[in-house]
Amino acid sequence: MQIFLIQLLNGVQLSMLVFLLAVGLTLIFGLMNILNLAHGAFFTMGAYFGLVVANKTGSFWLALLIGPLLPFVAGMLLQFFVLQPLAQRGRSTHLDLALLTFGLLFATAGAVEYIYGSAFHSIGTPDLLKGRVALLGIEFPLYRLFIIAVGIAIAAALVLVIDRTLVGATLRAGVDNREMVTALGININVLFALVFGFGSALAGFAGIVSAPIMSIYSNMGIGIVVTTFVVVVVGGLGNLKGSFYAALIVGVTDTLAQAYLPEAELFAIYAMLIAVMIFRPQGLFGAAGRVA
């Protein structure tokens, strides 16, 4: 029972990490109709930039703060100068853009390997979050609890921003009727670039948050991005709240499968996704339309 509880918490912790990636992916898809297969690249980018900052300053917190800036800028530039112009030229449908980002994913992994080699790196756990806490009769690493807290906090903040603020209202309007938003004097291209950058920054943030418990290496983004795809499809593409619940389901399923059914480790979440696709092709939470 205690082991089960630990595995369950590990699953929730993985869920929160994947959720941070899924947010960006699903926001970008919901708003711009772009499936950003390169989302994992920003995860890698953030982690490595965080590593550089951490090595320079010796501070995990500075890395956490500064690290996401690079993916933010890179994502913004990608959307504004590459994807948006291509989409507007009408030459590329959203499927072509998905393929373009597929190339970007591998190019980034290759570039990182070229610069940093294929060695594994890691950022040390900050002193403040070292150790374990007693919880419901088990000992659980404090840092993993921190990840869970961060995930929940960001989810809550996003719901507040999207449901209760002007920015959120503009975003929701942009999903429903792009022309109308433009007619109201909002520069939708800049808004799109900002959201793209924000989503990328969150992915990079996830990369740094995961650094103390998972390794940093050149292909780290390629592995996790597929799990993220499973989350956004199960949650319904473009559905923010759906991706939170879906992240929980996928993260816990994956962790429990690893613990109790190691044979099915690489298998379980895909089997689950396929089951979902058979019964609800629009995703488990996709019925109510896109939330964001």
Binding site: L95, G103, F106, G110, Y114, V233, L266, L273, I274
Partner: protein, 337 residues
């Protein structure tokens, strides 16, 4: 070849136009004849290295042609076709090594099984479209990739070795000889492409193109669109499995990497390079891809980096592909004349 035509979208009316282009047909025929002769005579004058490259091109070309049926003609972009490449290789590996069947039993059984499995997978995948289709095909291939890594009786991530090449002793040939193997691959590839050509020029193929251009209209015309999509999915899968069989015979082994999603991406890339919805496009794309890959591997070890950049450039600036560019050129001249 005067019946040759290209299907294009007329930009002015946005409708599907069936262009009878005798000039284009003649140009293809004029190119095709010498090309076929060249392929048949290649081992007589080219070096062993070139023959090996040609084998790789043809295998990749069959793989890409399978993807083209689904992506180019039916308009369903899949990032999971490598799973069928793997099925082909694993199919004959399991058949010959584990079950002890001869190759001439294993290969047909593999292809039939792939058709049945692909029909089932296709029935699920084709319930979605667009990027969702792309993601679910990716998920399926990742699932089988994961299974192939875990399965102990196929040696997990090490894969299976000792895959037999066909016994050509009746013809007085030994398939372990590169030249003999070249002709074996050439015949299989030619057969596969001929079959695909028959498919896309048949009424069935026209329905697939119709689905790509306007699915709703095809539905209202009374076509069972879902069944056609599943059919296209299964035929594409079988073609990819043929490529998988050839590939595993070429290298004498198969491992889970054959099913990786990078492999699927490479196939899609070949289709885009060559030009989707032209029957020989994937073969041209495969040739460009294999040669570029060879050249890259000579000058750099950072394959991923250049693969990614190459991929992005092709998608962004090279949409019609090589044959698309040629068609446009000939089409323009034809219009002027």
């Amino acid at each position: 070849m005067s019946t040759d035509f290209i299907l294009t979208r007329d930009k002015r009316v946005g409708a599907l136009k069936r262009l009878p282009v005798p000039a284009l047909g003649r140009a293809y025929a004029a190119l095709f004849g010498p090309f076929a002769v060249l392929l048949c005579a290649l081992p007589f004058f080219a070096s062993g290295y070139v023959v090996t490259l040609a084998v790789e091109v043809m295998i990749a070309g069959v793989f890409a042609s399978g993807i083209n049926l689904l992506t180019g003609y039916t308009g369903l972009v899949s990032l999971g076709q490598a799973m069928f490449l793997g099925f082909g290789g694993y199919g004959i590996a399991i058949g010959t090594a584990l079950l002890g069947w001869p190759l001439w039993v294993s290969a047909p059984v593999t292809l039939v099984l792939v058709a049945v499995i692909a029909a089932a997978i296709g029935a699920i995948c084709t319930r979605t479209r667009g990027v969702e289709f792309l993601l679910i095909t990716l998920a399926f291939s990742q699932m089988f990739y994961g299974a192939a890594i875990k399965l102990r009786w196929t040696n997990g991530s090490d894969g299976m070795t000792g895959i037999p090449r066909p016994d050509l002793s009746l013809l007085g040939l030994n398939a372990d000889n590169p030249t003999a193997f070249y002709y074996y691959v050439l015949s299989v590839a030619a057969l596969a492409l001929l079959m695909l050509w028959r498919i896309v020029t048949s009424p069935f193929g026209s329905v697939l193109v119709g689905i790509r251009e306007n699915e709703r209209r095809m539905t209202s015309m009374g076509y069972a669109v879902a069944n056609y999509k599943i059919g296209s999915f299964a035929l594409a899968a079988v073609t990819c499995a043929v490529a998988g069989i050839l590939q595993s015979q070429y290298t004498y082994f198969v491992n889970p990497d054959a099913m990786s999603w990078q492999m699927s991406g490479e196939g899609v890339l070949m289709v885009i390079i060559g030009g989707a919805n032209v029957i020989l496009g994937p073969l041209v794309g495969a040739a460009v891809f294999v040669v570029v890959k060879q050249a890259l591997s000579m000058i750099t070890e950072e394959y991923n980096l250049f693969f990614g950049i190459f991929f992005m450039l092709v998608v962004a600036f090279f949409r019609g592909g090589v044959l698309g560019a040629i068609s446009k050129l000939i089409g323009k001249r034809h219009e002027r004349a």
